[in-house]
């Protein structure tokens, strides 16, 4: 139990499945109040919310497409009206959509992915920071990717670009918001067994990724949660801001 996470109010976007779901449950296990957000997977989100309560936390479920900026603002505002405040924002919602070569990247595809991965994160941050400023601070944790540095595996260059954007604004907003006692950091997962890879990577691709990881295995979602808890806890990481924690088994190091 991380003492200072108890009763903290945490919004985890995209927390019905994958890393987001594991993170939401981990905060629940530490006594936090968690907004479980989903877009499509309602029953999974409700299951995560129920599990959080079994673990001793509080939870609520909210639906919305974060590609829509009004939804981002609403998720933050509804979290504040439900739990009274927001202490931690985890900008986890995002996706790869589809592996495509450059000649298949259309304006529509570009907008869709940028709004899903980039604008959503900015708009949630904008809304949450406004609340955090009035309550003495908070922690914002973005989810970037190993792809932000290596440019992405096959067909994932646009995705990698969106994550590069996230890594950059993590550093920039850390500096902008530090005066308001808001810390901004990111977690950068490597190849973690998630629905993203179930949808977008073939078993052959996953074997190929594994061969490039010195630990000779892919990561599990539960192995990402510690970095989020660490970065959310003022007690544990009060002097850390503007940083990106890589969770990749040594696959690719700065």
């Amino acid at each position: 139990m991380i003492e200072d996470l108890k009763d903290k109010v945490v919004l985890v976007t995209g927390s019905s499945t994958g890393i987001g779901a594991a993170v939401a449950k981990a905060f629940g296990a530490n006594g936090a109040s968690v907004t479980v957000h989903f877009n499509n997977s309602q029953s999974e989100a409700e299951e995560v919310a129920a599990e959080i309560q079994r673990l001793g936390g509080k939870s609520t479920v909210m639906q919305g497409d974060v590609s829509d900026s009004a939804v981002c603002a609403r998720l933050v505002d509804d979290t504040v009206s439900t739990f009274g405040r927001i202490d931690v924002l985890i900008n986890n919602a995002g996706g790869l959509l589809k592996r495509i070569p450059i000649d298949e990247i259309t304006d529509d595809m570009f907008s869709k992915l940028l709004h899903l991965n980039v604008r959503s994160s900015l708009m949630c941050t904008r809304a949450a920071a406004a609340h955090m400023k009035t309550t003495g601070g908070g922690a914002i944790i973005n989810v970037t990717s190993i792809a932000a540095r290596h440019g992405g595996a096959a067909g994932a260059v646009l995705y990698a670009g969106t994550k590069g954007f996230i890594s950059t604004v993590t550093r920039g907003f850390a500096k902008e918001l530090v005066k308001d006692n808001i810390r901004v950091n990111a977690v950068s997962p490597g190849v973690i067994l998630t629905p993203l890879h179930e949808r977008s990577s073939t078993p052959e691709m996953l074997e190929g990724f594994k061969a490039t990881i010195p630990m000779n295995r892919l990561g599990e979602v539960d192995e990402c949660t510690g970095a989020f808890l660490f970065l959310a806890s003022e007690q544990m990481s009060g002097y850390i801001t503007g940083q990106i924690i890589e969770v990749n088994g040594g696959q690719y190091m700065p």
Partner: protein, 251 residues
Amino acid sequence: MFDLTGKVALVSGASRGLGWAMAQSLAQCGAHVLLNAWDKNALQERADELASKGLSGEATPFDVTDHAAGAAAVQAAQKKHGRFDILVANAGIQHRAPIAEFEAADFERVLATNLTGVWALAKEASKVMIPAKQGRIIMTGSITGMLGCPTISAYIASKGAVHSLTRQLAVELAPNNITVNAIAPGYFATELNTALINDKEFNDWVCDRTPAGRWGQLDEIGPAAVFLASDEAAFVNGHVLVVDGAFSVAM
């Protein structure tokens, strides 16, 4: 979460400053901590302090530049406790001089502690961790190892090399389920930095230059070591965890 109960850890440079802070945090999370430094009396006081708080530790004095002594200490710990889980290779020294006046002997002396001393302890730790098929090695790097800073050529070179060594050993030891990471502190209010904190010009520079606007406090470094030593960081490998109030991301 972040529970180190039953683990055996060795922290070098543990008589004061960041090393002592990290040792305390590891002990608070349940580890038995072998406190290492060359100053036997200071270490015994620290071990007594741990005991008075109900924490587990023991003084393990040796000089990290004496590689045989380090090897003996690691072997003895393994024999006595039946395990050796965590190495925090932290001991380091500083020497300031403009490059034109920097004596080669001083350069070699800094490297011997900050780099070769770290390498030698990591080597000894690997000998007991490889057969156990588990282990955590954490090295103290520095944000200066990523940046430039006047008059500390030996220190910067050593810390940059520690970051490289972290990545190299991470790859080499990963197949044995051993992770190797570094912590890169920014400017911390340690005992050794007292003169700098009291120097108004330097203090103003640190506070203006650091976006957080202040020095790091000693209780803000230990949890980073706990995180990297914990099961929760099992897939974090080859990482340099920067703890610097955003110093290194500011211009």
